[in-house]
Amino acid sequence: MIATETFKPLVLAQAKARKIEPKLIVVKHPVGGLNAEELRERIDTATKGLIEATGK
């Protein structure tokens, strides 16, 4: 799951309520409202996070 650092506490609180451990990739907040150039940084971070998490 990809979430912003601001919404990480919500994801963790809801995961705790469901007794699951999410595999979480955290990017800077926000995602909404960014233009294409600004969004590129989030895409890079999320892709790097995915590669690190999956070892691929």
Partner: protein, 93 residues
């Protein structure tokens, strides 16, 4: 003095335990699921494109909730669970 705890409740019965199969992120089909907030799909599209440098991406497919404010429909969850080994969920907030 004794008080009742205003947060107290009984734990809901849990759902059935799910056993996860190992995922091969280099080849397996992956579902990209957007929560339908602006830029969630664009974020996933960008990731898909970058993954194309290291793996084939024609089995990485997009899905989205009908509405950002409502839970994903059961049939979407079932279809994704049936077809894919892994899912990437993006919360575009």
């Amino acid at each position: 003095m004794r008080i009742f705890n205003p947060t107290f409740g009984m734990a809901a019965a849990g759902g059935p335990a799910v056993s996860l199969k190992p995922v091969n992120w280099a080849t397996d089909a992956i579902a990209l699921i957007s929560n339908s907030k602006p830029n969630a799909r664009e974020l996933l599209e960008g990731m898909r494109e970058r993954l194309g440098a290291t793996r084939k991406i024609d089995n990485i497919e997009f899905h989205a909730k009908n509405s950002a404010s409502q839970p994903a429909p059961k049939d979407l969850i079932e279809a994704v669970a049936k077809k894919y080994r892994a899912a990437l969920l993006a919360l575009g907030d």
